[in-house]
Amino acid sequence: MLGLLVGDACGVPYEFRDPRDLPLFEQLEMQPPKRFARSYAHVKLGTWSDDGAQALCLYASMRECGMYHAQDYAARLIKWHDRGYMAVDHYVFDIGNQTSTAIGRLKQGTPTRYSGLSGERNNGNGALMRCLPLALLHQGNDVALVYEAHAQARLTHAHIRSQVCCALYCLWARREMQQHTSPWESAIATLRAIYRRDPPALHELDTHIRPERRADGKGTGYVLDSLHSARWACLGPNYETIIKRAISLGNDTDTTACIAGGIAGLRHGAQGIPARWLELLRGKEELKRLGIWHDSSHAPNGLHQHQPSTTHV
């Protein structure tokens, strides 16, 4: 979770920029260069955005329920939207259009199965950016994980593309946790095997997501571009480089860095996250309550490396 949150917080000041307007690669810090006019100038550095808050809602829900429970998660998203639950300072400063529409529907009593928009154009990265806790805390097998990733996506992003992207990401994260030698490739193979019984999903995977294609991306808010951008960023050798690569693509920088950061955190552990970034990260009281941050150890042990257990953080 720390990998995701730090990535998100690093990306916030650079959001919506053309890559050419960004500082030099080595200056893509959580604290941008002084002359750089950062996005959300009123938001303190080290603050996670909607991505981190929604992921924490899912984390808290799964911890409390011991499973993915759509209605409980929906109630927490509404609480975030209305009252800043899991947002730093209880302040919500950004929300995606689809998520906003879906939360509005949920508040009117629409069942969780039907709250998400399902058009092909409704494929923002809003469900992908928050789904990591499923992979961290899910106690089921791969089939169960895949279908709960679908259910998690449908809550706000009901098109099959968003669902499959979330399933692929969750399996990828699980393979990273398992220290698989080829996590991405293994995730694809498993997903194909599962989708043999699910032709629409298999069609989507093979014709649109095309997971074997070369990793690249533009860092936009389109779910497929986000996933491939994160994959490209994750070609970096360490946590810091992965986050900087994600931000260097410009556009939806916080979300690309959040998605890549989740994977990078699993791969390199909390000790792989630069101490200066952990220092700047805000909201630690909330993270302590959730058991993600521990003061006593100074170096947080909230994100352990390569050690799946029921207390993944």
């Binding site: 499973m67 097998n141 791969d142 279908y147 398992q178 095997a193 257990s309």
Partner: protein
Amino acid sequence: MKLVKAVIKPFKLEEVKEALADIGIEGMTVTEVKGFGRQKGHTEIYRGSEYTVDFLPKVMVEIVVDDADAEKTTDAIVKAAKTGKIGDGKVFVIPVESATRIRTDETGPEAL
């Protein structure tokens, strides 16, 4: 009246609906459920895992029918939902004492 309650594979739902329409049954309720059974979910090689919740996605179909129709409803579902492989599911028949259609206040078999 009887409640016919079937748990089937999700991809068989369309065929079951068609089979029921063929015998004149159009109203039903469908719930997404998790099925746990002797057939485990797709097994993965994974060491040292505590992963134990191995469900398979299923759908539960519920239909209330007149006493006389319970058997043919069951038969139609069984025929349409069968793949012959493990995990095809089950059909149960449960007694129903009363039924009311909310829109019209009709009760009994007229409400079905």
